[in-house]
């Protein structure tokens, strides 16, 4: 009959943890515990970390220079990488034999199993390079151990100039994945500032900002982006184009974040514990950083994660249409420009499917990850 003797909370989080540990578990620990239960999200997190690592170490992972052309191997098909040769571990690819199809007047490649080309790990790079532009290196993750004339390593095929698609996709990850991050960072600044102003001050500022957000959301994004992106002068240096494209792409992304922040501000502003802090004599700034920000941090992380894929997709779409990033920049969208017409795709489907797979895997994982984070964002909802 007394509330002192028993300690069984009937509401609140229920996790497979001893009650004593749960009792002293803070927000992030509960967040992690709840997130961990979302298996697909957890797996996606691993995939995402892996993909960003690939992007960071692209120079090391890509076996050849992504811009190196080879007229001999235009549209060379993917060469299957086999690990075993004659029953022992000897990774190799089969040399490609070129024939001319007299009917279609096209060059065709056939893998020749009699001529295995040995592939090794941690091989010497064709040219020395600087990892991340800083660390001088002469080793690649894998490559041909003893390249001879006529040997090639196109595990995902080659494009019309004989450039290695795999190396290009790995390098494209740098631009495509970073656009998501940079764009999200811009969205974060815009969204938190504008949403915060809207939610904190309310009144006219709020009304105006809300109408503006509604307006932005009611405009179809692709034509708007197209209009803005097309105005970028062709002569601009790649880096500037990159930033302007990112800015354009994040132009829409911040609105959902601003709404989230505003909603949280409005709902939290009248929570009893915030009023209590105000009565305790805490300043408004103190309340924002001590109570409000910790309360919606997890939600912001989830919303940001969910915003990254839409930015990746936007960059891809613009570059694909030829009004986003331009060669020589390598991004997944730029790679897909090569696959713009159905004839090219029919002749060399790997031009389409390799970058496509990279896009789909990263976007899918980011969406799953964001979904899991959003589910875990409020670990204090009672869990059944």
């Amino acid at each position: 009959m007394t509330d002192i003797t028993s300690l069984p909370p009937e509401t609140g989080p229920s996790f497979n943890l001893p009650g004593k540990d749960i009792a002293v578990a803070g927000q992030w620990r509960l967040f992690w515990l709840k997130f961990k239960k979302h298996r697909i999200a957890l797996a996606s997190l691993v995939v995402i970390v892996f993909m960003y690592l690939v992007a960071v170490f692209a120079d090391f992972i890509a076996p050849v220079d992504p811009n190196a052309t080879n007229a001999r191997f235009t549209y060379a098909p993917p060469q299957g990488l086999s690990l075993l040769l004659d029953g022992s571990f000897r990774p190799h690819v089969n040399q490609l034999k070129m024939t001319l199809n007299t009917e279609s007047m096209r060059r065709e490649f056939v893998a020749d199993p009699t001529k295995p080309v040995s592939v090794g790990f941690f091989v010497k790079a064709p040219q020395p390079y600087h990892l991340l532009g800083l660390i001088p290196m002469e080793t690649k993750l894998f490559g041909l151990t003893n390249p001879q004339v006529g040997d090639s390593l196109y595990i995902f095929g080659a494009d019309r100039l004989g450039r290695d698609i795999f190396s290009r996709v790995v390098h494209g990850a740098q631009i495509s994945l970073s656009i998501g991050l940079v764009g999200v960072f811009m969205s974060l600044i815009l969204g938190v500032t504008i949403g915060g102003v809207s939610g904190f001050f309310g009144g006219w500022a709020d009304l105006a900002i809300q109408r503006f957000i509604e307006l932005l959301r009611s405009i179809p994004t692709i034509p708007l982006w197209m209009g803005l992106a097309a105005a970028i002068p062709v002569g601009w240096p790649p880096l500037r184009t990159y930033f302007v494209i990112t800015l354009i792409v994040s132009l829409i992304g911040w609105t959902s974040l601003a709404r989230e922040v505003r909603g949280k501000f409005l709902s939290l502003r009248n929570e009893d514990f915030v009023i209590a802090a105000r009565l305790d004599g805490m300043s408004e700034i103190g309340i924002i950083f001590n109570h409000l920000v910790p309360s919606f941090m997890s939600h912001i992380i989830a919303t940001l994660t969910l915003a990254i894929p839409s930015m990746i997709l936007a960059e891809t779409a613009l570059s694909f249409l030829g009004i986003g990033l331009q060669p020589p920049i390598i991004s997944w969208g730029v790679l897909l420009q090569e696959a713009q017409n159905i004839r090219a795709v029919a002749q060399a489907p790997w031009l389409l499917f390799t970058p496509a797979a990279a896009i789909i895997i990263s976007v899918l994982s980011l969406n799953f990850l964001g979904d899991g984070l959003r589910d875990a964002a409020d670990p204090y909802e009672s869990v059944s």
């Binding site: 002192i4 300690l7 069984p8 229920s14 749960i22 002293v24 009893d272 209590a276 802090a277 309360s295």
Partner: protein, 570 residues
């Protein structure tokens, strides 16, 4: 399908050893564990228990509408139907035709939250008429006529227009009447009422209880009434079933339960209710507060009108003397919470004065105080919140929550640590729990944390807003006792806001009654409770269920109509 020889002519429903379990990941939760009872024609059985006792699941088990993953694991529910055949409801398929022909037709049910229990996008006429269509195939004009008749029975004004309205156009009491009309549609033998008045004000509650009683008599229904309120039990029950953690503690006639309880739990439950029926013992012996003492707080003509035009606080004047507890009592919408918040400038009142006498003897008007002054005053005037969940940040541990006001007052280091431990002891919490987060505490414990935060900076006045209404009755008196103990130790004054007359009577020296933003009556608690002067106070007091079946009185209650003041029976 056989005639059960063991039950009397009047028994409609016999529940035997009912077990309803919820399989959870962590094990099986036995929500209902071996419950047995009978329902008799024209009689009311009250199932009473605190939150989590399984009383609601018991009621839902009868109709097999327990929320997933709950399911009936054993026992029988024998329903004697109109043709004297007997059906075991526990054996029926929860999604099958057989149980559906019982639901709504032979056994109908009303729920706690009439707003969310009715669809917001369907007209009430449609929702009421549905049962007629399902069970009797009555459609069109005939259905409409029947629904109008039902609306008349439940005394909804202007049924012809009401029938085409939506739920959100009605008040809480009217919505519950709609629910009752819906339940009565097919003339059921049994009415199950699951806390039907808990969400309502006490005067509305009295009317709904009246209505149910009246309809029960005219229809000859058996009523199964689920409630946590012993007062309601005493007013309406013929028989009582006391539940605790899924088990029946005691079952018997209402007279026995209240006046000769056999079980320990029942005794304690009745005890904690009866304890709240009079003034606290510690207050009986205390010397009265000198009437001539200079007031600590002197509120004059305070008014607040919301932008919507609602006059939430309307020309309120009151005083609080040092060491005194002033109760503010009123129903929902009376403006009592808004008024309490004006005292701390959470809301800015538009007119009037809130004169507060500071420790140094100066009198300061809180309403117009500047920022620095206000900050100081807010250390002397503190607040305890109603909601023990929302008032504690879930992201801070208990130590941090209690330390927050101290830190802001400049206490640090060793002193801060010691003070937090001391405060936790003072409110009855283990200092070792300071690392724990609020989610690890029960409602009563959280409220203690809130109290510790309030007294941390040695205040002189505390505004407690419905501080006990989220708690079960057995915890209520404990919390009030704690507050009075602290009052004596620290020389506190309280403004104690509540809708519950019993806690006001238990704790307060004086009481002010609020109605529609105004204070209609102020006086010593004894005098206001025993000899109310204002008609609204009389109506409010007489609508409160009295936890003694020998003295049922709400059906004789006094009704207040601000336009026209007449007694209900006279």
């Amino acid at each position: 399908m056989s005639i059960n020889p063991n039950v009397s002519q009047n028994t409609i429903l016999t529940v035997e050893d009912l077990k309803t379990y919820f399989p959870l990941r962590t094990g099986i939760f036995k929500a209902v564990d071996g419950v047995s009872f009978e329902l008799k024609r024209g009689k009311t059985l009250c199932v009473v228990g605190e939150s989590g006792s399984g009383k609601s699941v018991t009621a839902r088990s009868i109709l097999q509408i327990v929320d997933r993953p709950g399911r009936i694991e054993g026992g029988s529910i024998l329903l004697t139907r109109a043709d004297r055949s007997v059906t075991d409801l526990a054996k029926l398929d929860p999604r099958g035709k057989d149980i559906r022909s019982v639901r709504g037709k032979e056994i109908a049910m009303i729920f706690q939250e009439p707003m969310s229990s009715l669809s917001p996008v369907h007209r009430i006429g449609t929702q009421i008429g549905e049962a007629l269509r399902i069970h009797f195939g009555i459609l069109g004009n005939e259905q409409r006529e029947r629904v109008l008749e039902l609306l008349r029975q439940v005394e909804i004004p202007r049924p012809e227009t009401a029938i085409d309205r939506y739920t959100f156009e009605f008040s809480g009491g009217m919505r519950q009447r709609v629910m009752i009309a819906m339940a009565l549609a097919c003339n059921p033998q049994v009415l199950i009422a699951d806390e039907p008045t808990t969400a309502l004000d006490v005067t509305t509650q009295a009317e709904i209880l009246d209505l149910i009683k009246k309809l029960q008599q005219s229809h000859g229904m058996a009523v199964l009434f689920i409630t946590h309120d012993m007062g309601v039990v005493a007013e309406i029950a013929d028989e009582v079933l006391v539940m605790y953690r899924g088990k029946v503690m005691e079952r018997g006639p209402v007279e026995q339960i209240f006046h000769a309880p056999q079980d320990d739990y029942t005794r304690r439950l009745i005890g904690s209710v009866v304890k709240l029926e009079k003034k606290a013992e510690v207050r009986l012996t205390r010397a009265p507060i000198a009437a001539e003492a200079a007031p600590l707080l002197d509120v004059k003509n305070l008014s607040l009108t919301f932008p919507s035009g609602l006059k939430a606080v309307d020309d309120v004047s009151l005083i609080v003397r040092p060491g005194e507890t002033l109760g503010i009592v009123g129903e929902s919408g009376s403006g009592k919470t808004t008024m309490g918040r004006c005292l701390l400038r959470i809301y800015d009142a538009q007119a009037g004065a809130i004169d507060f006498r500071r420790l140094d003897g100066r009198t300061v008007d809180i309403r117009t105080a500047d920022k620095a002054e206000l900050k100081d005053i807010r250390r002397e005037v503190r607040m305890i919140f109603q909601d023990p969940v929302g008032s504690l940040s879930p992201r801070k541990n208990v130590g941090q929550i209690i330390a927050e006001p101290l830190k802001l007052a400049g206490v640090k280091g060793r002193e801060l640590e010691d003070r937090v431990s001391e405060l936790m002891l003072q409110v009855g919490l283990e200092p070792a729990w300071r690392e724990r987060y609020p989610h690890a505490f029960s409602g009563g414990q959280r409220q203690r944390i809130g109290i510790a935060r309030a007294i941390a900076v040695k205040p002189r006045l505390i505004v407690a807003d419905e501080a006990t209404s989220a708690l079960d009755v057995s915890l209520r008196s404990q919390m009030l006792d704690l507050m009075m103990k602290l009052q004596d130790e620290l020389g506190l004054s309280y403004v104690f806001i509540s809708h519950d007359m019993s806690v006001i009577r238990y704790m307060c020296d004086r009481v002010a009654v609020m109605y529609r933003g105004r204070i209609v009556e102020t006086g010593d608690t004894d005098q206001v409770v025993n000899h109310p002067r204002h008609d609204y106070t009389r109506a409010l007091l007489s609508a409160i269920p009295h936890p003694d079946p020998r003295e049922r009185r709400i059906h004789k209650r006094f009704r207040y109509d601000p336009a026209r003041t007449v007694s209900a029976n006279g």
